[in-house]
């Protein structure tokens, strides 16, 4: 099985909806599994990337940990793919960009209704938030993008089969949508 194409996936500031959509491949997962193996991914629970052929990134970059994970993927994956609206433009998490970070943290941890023991978390284990949520192409170089919220299973199928069969990946009109 050494010549299987190795894929890693992760969700940064996302909702795992893109991963769920990937699982919508349903019965097509069986033939796909003949051709690919999963490395770091919520599907395998492998925690760090080995060298991979394809990395699928869901979600934008909202905190320091996202940056580290994204860099690990970029270092290990020959082809890095932005999957879904959040990876491509920050998506819904980026709607916080119109609110100053200080205001967000105050509302959540200090002044909000129902907050007990008001204090902004300071455990060194917790990733710090960036001032703004960024799409991933602003942090590392990205090779392909699959739009959609989420991209449909057909999008994953088309993209991966194109790559696996040695074609330049492309999406027809029906497969392109931004929501």
């Amino acid at each position: 099985m050494a010549n299987k194409v190795r894929i890693a996936t992760t969700s940064l500031a996302g909702c795992f909806g893109c991963h769920m959509s990937f699982l919508d491949l349903d019965e097509r997962l069986v033939p796909l599994a003949e051709l690919v193996e999963f490395n770091r991914s919520p599907i395998t629970d492998i925690k760090h990337c080995a060298p991979c052929d394809i990395g699928l990134i869901e979600g934008g970059v909202c905190n320091a940990e996202n940056v580290h994970v994204l860099r690990e993927f970029r270092q290990n994956c020959k082809i890095l793919v932005a999957v879904g609206a959040c990876a491509i433009n920050g998506g819904l998490p980026a709607m916080r960009n119109s609110v100053p970070l200080e205001e967000c943290l105050r509302e959540a941890y200090l002044d909000g209704i129902g907050v007990e023991n008001p204090m902004i978390p300071n455990d060194p284990e917790l990733p710090l938030l960036l001032n703004q949520v960024h799409p991933i192409h602003e942090v590392v170089k990205i090779d392909y993008s699959l739009p959609g919220c989420p991209p449909s299973a057909d999008v994953f199928w088309k993209f991966l089969t194109d790559l696996l069969e040695g074609r330049e990946p492309g999406l027809d009109y029906d497969l392109v949508h931004y929501d």
């Binding site: 320091a64 270092q75 970070l101 710090l128 942090v139």
Partner: protein, 593 residues
């Protein structure tokens, strides 16, 4: 306030077209545009409130937020910076206890930057309540500060503080030719107006603003368009950084200019002319009004000029800090009391210009040349210069040279000779035609002035080898992003993207992909923008990339990609609020290998 507004509106005949003049006076009176003033003007003129708000927000010299009673604007042209603007700015800000970009708590002073003020030969320069102050030194700043702290009105400041020099170092055909008041008009009327237009044709005169459209053809088109009224407009909105020759023409050759405009009015059949004077040249406004008055009383302007039944008069409108208004159709919009947004063309101003009537818009120098041609004939002019570029060009020379100022040369003169004459040594390159023109390097000094080679509206900025290409290009690129009117997508968004992308490379965060990206954005802006501003906004980058690819290569990192924003800086607020400073609370800009 109501009486002030009413009084001001009356002064401008309760007319909507001179809206900029009205708003200029309101700003001067209240140090901002009060919302009440917007409503009053809107009601009186029957102009929608939104049009007035749009105008206020468009022009740099108007603001809804209060400025200081002494509003100081420092010229941020590359030429001012080369003359020590930064030190002077620091000194001024410190003396007045007012950081750059702020209004002092007592509202006495505000200090900010502004685009090139056209005093490049005598910088660093500033505008104080619109008045030009040249040759800024600590000593002169001390005197300014004393006057400000004693609340002395700028117009009452020592005259040497307010003096602006002509600095003519080389006078040629136009700057030496004699023209008795009215002589060109007399000659034209004697010869016949059609015959005089033919002389201008023979002269081969082309527009001196830089684009070089044939003047006689422009006048002919306008003349041939059926209309109840036609207009003559002098474009004195000399905003191209590094250009100041019109300042000198308006100061010392105003009669020639006005004679040229009157001649144009006679030839095309216009009775009304405008001088659109850039706001930075406020110091020339009163003197120009005096010249107009003098000519009216001499029978050279107004009704029945030279007793020949010729009617023509001129109104001056001041600009309010918008480079785009140098574009002729944006200038016309501005004259009509609107934002300076370039129009769609066709129709061209010669068929549909001011108030949609046929309008000739020419540069100051073009009208001056036309006046001399009317007197001396086309052959006299065409004997100078080259076949495609007849006559002479007046240059504004600034930057690294011994004698900055005004030089007039026949077209065809080599750059090398010009550099010799003005005392420029150790030259790295010359920006010919300003930021929107061409940067030429030291192997190109045999190139010549002319529409067929190096066209220029007059800007000629010299850089010696101590200067950095990147400082120059950065200044120009920021300038265009600041001055984009925002009408079309490629220029509005593109100039801001270009600025970000250039800064990224300039500050050492770029990779080779970033230079390719820079080039791509530059080409897109150039080929898809609406007007000349956008089409040339990427010129500084394009022309230096062509000439100094190795310098750009030295700037880039041998990595595949680096973020365009400061990652660690983006954690600063979270660090501060959580009180953390451990290693996990920081991010390296580039991933460690």
């Amino acid at each position: 306030m109501e009486s002030f507004i009413n009084h001001t509106l009356k002064k401008y005949q309760d007319c909507a077209t001179p809206l900029l003049m009205v708003l200029r006076e309101v700003q001067a009176q209240y140090f901002h545009i009060p919302k009440l003033a917007v409503d009053l003007i809107s009601q009186q003129l029957g102009v929608s409130r939104t049009q007035i708000i749009a105008v206020v927000e468009f022009y740099s010299f108007l603001s809804f937020e209060s400025r200081g009673h002494y509003d100081i604007l420092l010229s941020d042209s590359i030429t001012d910076i080369m003359l020590g603007k930064q030190d002077v700015a620091d000194y001024l800000c410190q003396k007045l206890h007012t950081p750059l970009g702020t209004v002092r708590a007592d509202r006495l002073v505000s200090i900010d930057n502004t685009s090139c003020t056209g005093l490049c030969d005598q910088g660093p320069a500033a505008l104080v309540n619109g008045h030009a102050i040249a040759y800024l030194t600590p000593e002169r700043i001390d005197r300014m500060v004393a006057a400000i702290e004693h609340n002395i009105s700028v117009s009452d400041w020592d005259s040497d503080l307010l003096a602006v020099d002509d600095n003519i170092h080389q006078a040629g055909l136009l700057l030496t030719a004699e023209l008795a008041h009215g002589a060109a008009l007399q000659a034209a009327l004697q010869r016949g107006l059609t015959e005089t237009l033919d002389e201008i044709k023979t002269a081969g005169l082309r527009g001196r603003g830089g684009a070089g459209f044939t003047t006689a053809m422009k006048w002919q088109f306008c003349r041939d368009t059926e209309a109840s009224q036609r207009y003559v407009v002098c474009n004195a909105d000399e905003g191209e950084p590094g250009t100041f020759k019109d300042r000198v023409l308006l100061n010392s050759y105003a009669h020639e200019l006005i004679e040229g405009m009157t001649l144009c009015g006679a030839i095309i059949g216009a009775t009304q002319g405008f001088i659109y004077l850039r706001g930075e040249y406020l110091h020339l406004y009163e003197p120009l009004l005096a010249v107009l008055a003098q000519r009216r009383s001499a029978g050279l302007l107004g009704d029945n000029i030279l007793d020949q039944g010729l009617d023509f008069d001129i109104t001056i409108q001041l600009g309010l800090g918008a480079y785009i208004c140098g574009e002729e159709s944006a200038l016309i919009e501005s004259l009509e009391g609107k934002r300076g947004i370039p129009r769609n063309r066709p129709p061209y101003p010669v068929t549909s210009g001011y108030l949609n009537k046929p309008t000739v818009v020419n540069n100051v120098e073009t009208f001056v040349a036309a006046a001399h041609i009317a007197l001396q004939g086309g052959a006299w002019f065409a004997a100078h210069g080259t076949e495609q570029s007849t006559g002479t060009k007046i240059l504004s020379i600034s930057g690294d040279c011994a004698k900055a100022g005004i030089y007039e040369y026949p077209f065809g003169t080599s750059i090398r000779q010009i550099l010799n004459d003005c005392g420029a040594d150790d030259v790295l390159g010359v920006q010919v035609g300003g930021p929107s023109g061409t940067f030429i390097c030291d192997t190109e000094f045999d190139r010549v002035l002319g529409f067929e080679d190096l066209a220029t509206g007059g800007s000629f900025i010299i850089f010696n080898t101590s200067r950095s290409i990147f400082d120059i290009v950065q200044n120009f690129t920021h300038f265009f992003a600041h001055e984009s009117c925002g009408f079309c997508t490629p220029c509005r968004v593109g100039t801001s993207l270009l600025k970000k992308q250039f800064d990224k490379i300039c500050t050492g965060h770029g990779s080779s992909g970033d230079v390719r990206e820079l080039q791509e954005i530059a080409q897109l802006i150039k080929t898809t923008s609406h007007c000349g501003l956008g089409q040339t906004a990427a010129q500084p980058i394009i022309t230096t990339l062509e000439r100094y690819p190795e310098l750009y290569n030295q700037k880039i990192k041998q990595i595949s990609f680096e973020p365009g924003f400061d990652l660690d800086g983006a954690l600063a607020i979270a660090r501060q609020l959580s009180g953390r400073d451990d290693s996990n609370a920081h991010l390296a800009q580039v991933e460690e290998e």
